[in-house]
Subunit: 225 residues, 2 copies
DNA sequence: ACTCATAAAGTCATCTGATGACTTTATGAG
DNA sequence: CTCATAAAGTCATCAGATGACTTTATGAGT
């Protein structure tokens, strides 16, 4: 089932060991097999084991004591900072953000009030069209509009996750991709608000998808080029 | 000046590199010196540099591309614990999870392979119908099926977010709501796989939505009651 | 000149072996 | 039985080599 994901040995080692930790194979405080043994167990070199162990140490699962051994510090998964998600490719993160955009727009369409619609229109007007000037400011105003759509959905979980991705994505896009990504124009944005105003979830869904498709396609071209 | 704190070289390397990243010595997207150069700069071996880099990768600061180099992914302090999302209501979390189910099913339908479909059918058969017995085991098998759909989408960001919510939701459901939530039957699950097999994203989308609607509705009734 | 397949160079991924530092355990004299 | 000390165990670090993958340079053919 992991055919799709090409991963490296160290990551596999990390997951294998983490799995054993979470699976309570070793209790808290217990000593793990030494590096040579782990190396043999996982069929990777000692250096690879060390890389895996160091990551798990940095995540609070393990603790190493020179001359003594490696010990389990916590078998708890809570508070895991979604490191994998942050490491996912820009494309994956953007795709995930799009998924949230779509679903949140549906919810917003269903739960909208005249006030939210007015607020969205206001933010859209404020955003304006990109005039070639201050790019960072424009991206910020654009993001504010999109966040407002999510916020209007009323789903706090989605809001938080959206923030999580947008920060990372905005960074990367601004710094590395620059102006090669087509910025959907005012009309495309207005279509979303219109759909939300009618309260038609399917229409809102479609509007967001039309909106995002060219951006995703552009992203693909860049990655493949 | 660090005479008092006995630390190891790899941790020092981590802090040195992280400092340079946060200090904007390299911009987002920019390539770091190669491993040999970093090794020379920090006066540590290449292996130690690799351990440091891998930790920073796991924390979202860096990204490595085999054959190309190591790049800065984010200059902001990563590792936010998403506490808000975890504190969101069960309903919101479940709704967010549904959003991921829907969008991932769309992607899986587009990117499916015969092997994927076969694996999904296998997991579904293994899951079986709930016979009133071991509930925890059944929930786990059911979750395994859903996770497989997400995994087959190939989107790592979604996979991670899904895990994030699943864990939390499973906990809450098991602890507070018990067996009052309707478990969609085998046919509803099979419909999803069928849609994926045809490669029709809209069909997959609809199948998942039909699947989730009654569960969400039940959740609403409980919350309101 | 231009295109494009291919060679060459650059870089990360991984393995192997060795040495040093530190901790734990075994040993043996007193 | 105590305790200094040797021995063994384990992590920390280094060095060198090979493989895999990506990027760049090259050159023949048009």
């Amino acid at each position: 089932m992991r055919a799709l994901s090409k991963t490296n040995l160290a990551d596999e080692a990390i997951e294998a060991i983490r799995g054993d930790i979470l699976g309570k194979r070793w209790a808290v405080g217990e000593k793990l097999p030494n590096e040579a043994s782990l190396s043999a167990m996982l069929s990777v070199s000692r250096g690879t084991v060390r890389e895996a162990v160091r990551v798990l140490v940095s995540q609070g699962y393990l603790e190493t004591r020179q001359g003594s051994g490696t010990y389990v510090r916590s078998t708890r998964d809570a508070g895991r900072p979604l490191t994998m998600a942050r490491r996912a490719s820009l494309r994956d993160q953007f795709e995930a953000r799009c998924a949230l955009d779509v679903e949140a727009a549906r919810l917003t369409a269903i739960r909208k009030t005249p006030e939210t619609v007015a607020e969205l229109r206001r933010l859209l007007a404020e955003r304006g069209n990109y005039d070639g000037g201050n790019q960072a400011g424009f991206i910020e105003r654009d993001l504010a509009f999109h966040k407002a759509v999510i916020a209007a959905s009323g789903n706090r979980a989605m809001i938080e996750i959206y923030d999580f991705f947008s920060a990372s994505i905005a960074d990367t896009i601004a710094a590395t991709l620059g102006k090669d990504i087509p910025e959907p124009d005012m009309q495309a944005h207005a279509n979303i608000v219109d759909a939300i105003e009618t309260g038609d979830a399917d229409k809102a869904d479609a509007a967001v998808r039309r909106f995002m498709a060219p951006v995703l396609a552009a992203l693909d071209r860049m990655i493949l080029s």
